[in-house]
């Protein structure tokens, strides 16, 4: 891990119909870090991800990835630069097979076009094989759940937890440097959450991804994050290690509100 700054966000703002979704947000991630973004509902966390991945345009501020601005790029260009994401409500290509889901994710890393497909050239066959191998490799990260006979089943047959795993596998398949995970363990039972927490650590240690994660499950946040950033009403209200942040009075207030004054 070289630890150089991968993502720098300065003064990022956007408002939807008068509501400030993000307000002068500053944020940064270094290579190899695992940063969690937490905050009460409506704090702007998913909007934050949408801005990085290019799906929403900021009204002010800048996003620098590896030194270059991401502003004005289409989402597919952002992905090509090296940022991949998952979605809060799992959005798989439900009627494509599991293997096809992770194969199509490599679209921006491959280049065979119509000519190669039609004439079944050597280059095309080689690339297809590579795509398939990489796809299986990525799926293998989750054990045998998504491999073997499953490869050619449509994604719609998967259980909820497996869908979330496939969602992550698909993002991995785009060969990114930065992974944005939007509530990876939402809806999973404790056993699955623990397992996934370990896997997230392995995403960094074995695969070399830098990870920014939105999460509500504080156990996961505590166990895997290097750093925690707390958002509320579109602004950063606290930053630091999990211990610091969880005892920060501003954070407590954001989640639980101010205690009622005692009348003496």
């Amino acid at each position: 891990m070289s630890g150089e700054r991968l993502l720098t966000i300065t003064d990022l703002s956007v408002s939807f119909g008068g509501l400030d979704a993000l307000s002068h947000l500053d944020f940064h991630v270094d290579e190899g870090e695992i940063v969690s973004v937490i905050g009460p509902n409506g704090a702007g966390k998913t909007t934050f991800f949408n801005m990085i991945s290019g799906m929403v345009t900021p009204s002010s501020g800048d996003i620098l990835f590896k030194g270059e601005s991401l502003l004005g790029l289409d989402p597919n260009q952002v992905t090509a630069r090296g940022i991949a994401r998952t979605f809060q409500n799992v959005r798989l290509f439900a009627n494509m097979t599991i293997l096809e889901n992770v194969m199509v994710a490599q679209h921006c890393r491959t280049k065979q076009g119509i000519f190669g497909s039609l004439f079944n050239t050597r280059a095309f066959r080689d690339e297809e094989r590579e795509i398939q191998e990489h796809g299986e490799k990525v799926l293998g990260f989750f054990g045998t759940r998504l491999t073997g006979y499953r490869l050619h089943q449509t994604a719609s047959v998967l259980s909820y937890a497996n869908r979330r795993r496939l969602e992550i596998a698909r993002a991995m398949a785009t060969k990114p440097q930065l992974l944005l995970l939007d509530e990876p363990v939402a809806g999973m039972n404790p056993v699955e959450s623990v397992e996934l927490t370990k896997l997230i650590g392995q995403l960094r240690s074995e695969w070399g991804f830098t990870i920014v994660m939105i999460e509500h499950d504080m156990g996961v946040v505590r166990d895997v994050s290097d750093r925690v950033v707390v958002l509320d009403h579109g602004e950063t209200i606290a930053q630091g290690s999990f211990e610091d942040v969880s005892t920060d009075p501003n954070v407590v207030e954001a989640y639980l509100g101010r205690p009622v004054e005692e009348k003496s």
Partner: protein, 372 residues
């Protein structure tokens, strides 16, 4: 697609350059055409006209006025039909391709009724009563068509991806067109002759009586609709369901019934347009609904889909453009047979608006499901 809002400021792809080129090209054409027209009016023998349009003549004020009135009267019919498209799109989020056929049913049944009344003699003796009967029958039939359509073809598909009901509505449209051809016979069918006071010009205004009737009736219908939507409980329910079906049902509104009402009201408006069309043009075929239907949808988009005032405004805009553009833009540019391209103009207006302001002139009003 509507989830993502992106400015194209920073990166321009080939497609973007092409689209900008299209916008510029179309705008230039219109501006140059209009300028040439004005030039022609001032001096039909000016330099530009001599090179591009040799047979240029000055358009008389009478002729110009005729074009404007034609455009407005046709446009108000488009507007009435557009209301149905707009309402259904606002509530259910899909294009009811068969709405044009609802209009055609109105025109057809109007034709049948008025022919029967003419045979019976009522048409000549008491025209006002006869036409009122025809209007009532038209509106009833077109409303019934719309309601039956909803019940059979669209209700089972509630919640399906957007393209499915669209394709179904294409099938319904096709079916109704051909039912008319098979049951009633193909080819044009004529309305009985209108009384003289409708065919002649109205004093003072100098406009054909029937066009005045069209404009007046359209205005009254629009007014009635406004009243219904803004001032009545039913209208409030329609607006609520258009906004968010789920929440509306939680508030105790019967969503299914409100949707039926929406279709019915839209169908009624189309029925009125149908009988007006019959009065204005005197004949109807099984294909009468096709082009006006698509143009009316374009009008709804031009005005802003889901926006009722916009639908009428869009209709008037489209009708006027269609009527004026051949003479005011195409002819001065030397396009021969310019009147033949009237229909093409309507589509070009749609494309132009979608290129320049996709949410329509007055902004869209969509339900929460369709917006996000």
């Amino acid at each position: 697609m509507t989830t993502t809002l992106r400015s194209r400021a920073a990166s321009k792809t080939g497609v973007d350059w092409f689209l900008t080129f299209l916008r510029v090209a179309l705008s230039t054409l219109v501006i140059v055409g209009l300028a040439a027209f004005i030039g022609q009016q001032i001096d039909p023998d000016n330099f530009f006209a001599r090179t591009v349009n040799e047979d240029a003549t000055r358009l008389s004020w009478e002729a110009l006025k005729d074009l404007v009135i034609s455009g407005l009267s046709q446009g108000s019919m488009y507007g009435l039909i557009a209301l149905g498209y707009s309402m259904v799109y606002g509530v259910l989020g899909f294009i009811n391709f068969a709405h044009g056929e609802v209009f055609m049913v109105g025109a057809m049944t109007g034709m049948i009724t008025s022919t029967k009344l003419a045979e019976g003699g009522l048409w000549e003796s008491n025209f006002i009563l006869a036409i009122l009967i025809a209007v009532v029958v038209s509106v009833l039939c077109s409303t019934a068509t719309a309601v039956i359509m909803e019940r059979i073809a669209y209700r089972p598909l509630r919640g399906a991806p957007r393209l499915i009901p669209l394709i179904t509505s294409i099938g319904v449209s096709f079916f109704i067109q051909n039912t008319s051809a098979v049951l009633l016979g193909p080819g044009a069918k004529n309305y009985p002759r209108l009384p003289d006071w409708l065919r002649d010009d109205v004093p003072v205004l100098g406009i054909e009586g029937k066009k005045v009737v069209v404009l007046v009736v359209a205005a009254i219908s629009m007014g009635a609709l406004w009243y219904l939507v803004e001032r009545t409980k039913t209208g409030k329910a329609m607006r609520a369901v258009a906004e968010d079906k789920e929440i509306a049902s939680l508030m105790g509104i019967d969503v299914d019934r409100t949707i039926v009402t929406t279709f019915a009201v839209g169908g009624a408006m189309a029925g009125v347009a149908g009988i007006l069309w019959g009065i204005l043009f005197g004949s109807v075929t099984e294909f009468t609904g096709f082009l006006p239907g698509i143009k009316a949808f374009s009008a709804a988009v031009v005005g802003g889909i889901g926006n009722l005032g916009g639908a009428m405004a869009g209709g008037l805009t489209l009708g006027s453009s269609e009527s004026l553009a051949p003479q005011l833009v195409l002819e001065p540019l030397g396009v021969t047979g310019h009147t033949q391209l009237k229909d093409a103009v309507a589509f070009l207006v749609l494309i132009f608006v979608l290129l320049v302001k996709p949410t329509g002139l007055f902004g869209e009003r969509l339900s929460s499901e369709d917006r996000a």
